[in-house]
Symmetry: C2
Amino acid sequence: MPRILAIDIGGTRMRAGAFDGELLTQEVLATEVERGPEDVIKRLIQASQEVLRKVGWEKIDGIGMAVPGPLDRVKKTINSPPNMPGWDNIPIGEIFEEEFSAPAFIDNDANAAALGEAVYGAGKGASVVTYFTVSTGIGGGCVIKGHIFHGAGDNAAEFGHQKLDPFGPPCGCGGRGCLEALASGTAIAKKAKELLIHNPQSLLWQIVRGDIEKVSAKYVAQAASQGDALSLRVFQEAGFWLGLGIANIINLFNPKVVILGGGVINAGELILKPAREIAFQKAIPQLASIVEITPAQFGELPGLYGAGEVALQGLRGELDIL
Amino acid sequence: MPRILAIDIGGTRMRAGAFDGELLTQEVLATEVERGPEDVIKRLIQASQEVLRKVGWEKIDGIGMAVPGPLDRVKKTINSPPNMPGWDNIPIGEIFEEEFSAPAFIDNDANAAALGEAVYGAGKGASVVTYFTVSTGIGGGCVIKGHIFHGAGDNAAEFGHQKLDPFGPPCGCGGRGCLEALASGTAIAKKAKELLIHNPQSLLWQIVRGDIEKVSAKYVAQAASQGDALSLRVFQEAGFWLGLGIANIINLFNPKVVILGGGVINAGELILKPAREIAFQKAIPQLASIVEITPAQFGELPGLYGAGEVALQGLRGELDIL
């Protein structure tokens, strides 16, 4: 099996791992994007060297990288992701190729996570796997027979930007009523804040110590798990919309497995229960009958598995099958 | 090039054609489903023999069949389509295989139409093509690099059953606010009827000679093209929802071409104009910028081209790539 350096760069954390079909070891560090690309990349290279030292690989066969989009898979560049100011046209692939003398293959974080879960995790063995990452925003990925479906312009599976309510709240994409504007961490926090103003007795006030600006999906989940009615309602609603979005993805992609990852899914049954119920209720029965809706198996690691698999497929010349 | 007998069975009309990468000749006949499978199949076989006689093929290499779903592609059976009562578990593939001594390959009408348009028609050369058939209902198909995307259970691309409005009208699938319940021929006729009751001056009354039960999407289009305000409004609304549905498909499948076929699209700009406007306005700009939205090139024939291509791919063993 080829020896792969797997890299996963996120806005908050980044990881380097040694991968050969299994994740042998990894290093995790804070990205600290504000220190700029040069500093971040320098630290990531050091972490990568540490990883290779740990497994005793003096030479590697390939590098797989999961990075925030937009990106250019051919030029292997990161092109100004919204959450990484200053990362304009950064030739991340070339930099690592020169440093480690091996070919690099890159893809976006949601696609890589989808691939990691589809091939090694919760979707193992399934022919069609769809993956939702429910976090600050909502991203998606679709893996068909082990390969990422990229679409004609490398932007397929924008699951967060399906329109579910033409009169719904405005979305960052410029539209209205997108799933992301209804069920993302940002949407959950926003909705909770709106309701909080009229609910002085909510436990959420205590949790954020009276500072409404501190309200986040995580705190709303905490309050909900302690029985706070307002917070339970917010998760119930977010779960409804997520379920509707999942129903659409079932009707459109006819997946065997729908995998839910991202920070918001850490809220567990608070969001999974209503989402599953609505999805199974709203999807076409025949399609609903074959699908499993499940949380991600690798938690925060699917990107690293996916990055490794991207490199394996790249070395086999299989990246452009779909 | 292999010699293919291409078959397209619809609820109203059926066709047989001689196909070798081009459609050399065809026969069209009324299906008359009420005469039962045996009679229908007998007439279709006669038409097929006539087609082969016309092109002088004494032997064929394969048979491609586009049939209404649900169906079983492996067993090559038609399994009780809603618009073909009595067609329960009909081994249409085997019957033709025995009759014409060649292997048969079948797929559903929407997939076949999508494939025909993608490979030979309006989507020629595009890597990802999505096809809407807007008729009594709304069906869909997605073709990736020349192959039908079937999904895990052979039911992918149910474009008519994306939920666009959680409080929208009920749909035949048991859900609410599906695209099919908002923009199909049936939905257009239903909406026109609702409005007609309160609009005694509408031209549509004259067109249906005072019989509201005669209202169909075709008559609404006729009235709209003559400037009838009510009918124009109905098409404007249907176009809005179709546009929203197209925007979702753009955001989810990132196609190069969206092809619109089916009887309702015969209304031309009445529905195409609002649909295009809304789709381009609502889809993510980067994805909208690479997509073309276009009517089908083959009118009512894409199914025959698609059936032919299904057989060609079947003979090459390529049907299960996706």
